[in-house]
Subunit: 140 residues, 2 copies
DNA sequence: ATAGTTATTGTAAAAACTTGCAATAAGGAA
DNA sequence: TTCCTTATTGCAAGTTTTTACAATAACTAT
């Protein structure tokens, strides 16, 4: 769990408390390169800290996202997933079959800049799933 | 319920069946200018057709979205909402306080075109909620 | 080290959403 | 109209996500 200590100063400087639950969850995210559902995180983190409960996982992931440590996403089916806030990319999901492909964040950079200046919102960077119809389903 | 009959030819030509459930749900969407949650749609459409059930509402809204008649969206909190596929606009939600503002679809037109050509996906137009930090929460 | 403050957690229950399967009824053919 | 086929629905149960509130345990200051 040691590698999660790298987040301690950041959390503490924001006035938040360091709890074994948060450490266990950060540790799980830290050691996965994929998106994880709250359920995935729960099952893995529970091994480190058996007293962990599911509502705490949901709340902690939300907490991490609000503070920029984790990036939330929605699958094409609307399910929640999280990953550490590192790689910026997005998905397009087929509204017919659900199949997903990645789109590089680069394509969105401009848009985000313009949205920020017109709306006044900052740090627009959320991992988003767009919807379309995939080449396969276009035939049918 | 008469105004929903305007969708009959379109549905029938795609080989789908016309059911009172579908008509009642279309009628509700047709007479609302706001986004409605499945629960909202259920409560309203049930007045027209009391035998209606909630799973049918979820399935029908999904069905309408897949066929381009309804537009699905996710609120800042991730909740499902639907509206008729007419006005194109999007939201930015504050990841701290949840407050939402609208962004015109115009801003996204270009992006969608480029995403379509690089991915091969078609009809990318989904109503999306982006995340950022609103001016208010930027102060705190 | 100890006590006080309050952020964070666990518990329990609700709300939101999904799924499998048998029953129903819409649309096509006789 | 009547029968047939099968898309669509209802039912029942499951999974996912959220919420209220009391109990716990980080941190701070003594």
């Amino acid at each position: 769990m040691s590698c999660a200590t790298e987040y301690v100063p950041q959390l503490r400087s924001l006035g938040y408390r360091i709890t074994p639950q948060r450490m266990a969850i950060l540790h799980v995210l830290r050691h996965s390169d994929k998106h994880l559902s709250p359920r995935d995180v729960y099952k893995k983190a529970k091994k480190d800290f058996p007293r962990l409960t599911e509502p705490t996982v949901y709340r902690t992931l939300d907490f991490l996202a609000k503070n920029g440590l984790a990036r939330p996403a929605r699958t094409g089916k609307g399910r929640l997933q999280y990953e550490l806030a590192q790689t910026d990319h997005h998905h397009i999901a087929c509204r017919v079959c659900g199949n997903e492909v990645e789109v590089d964040h680069q394509l969105l950079e401009n848009l985000y800049g313009r949205m920020e200046s017109t709306s006044g919102y900052a740090r627009i960077d959320s991992h988003v799933t767009f919807f379309g119809v995939c080449p396969n389903c276009q035939k049918a």
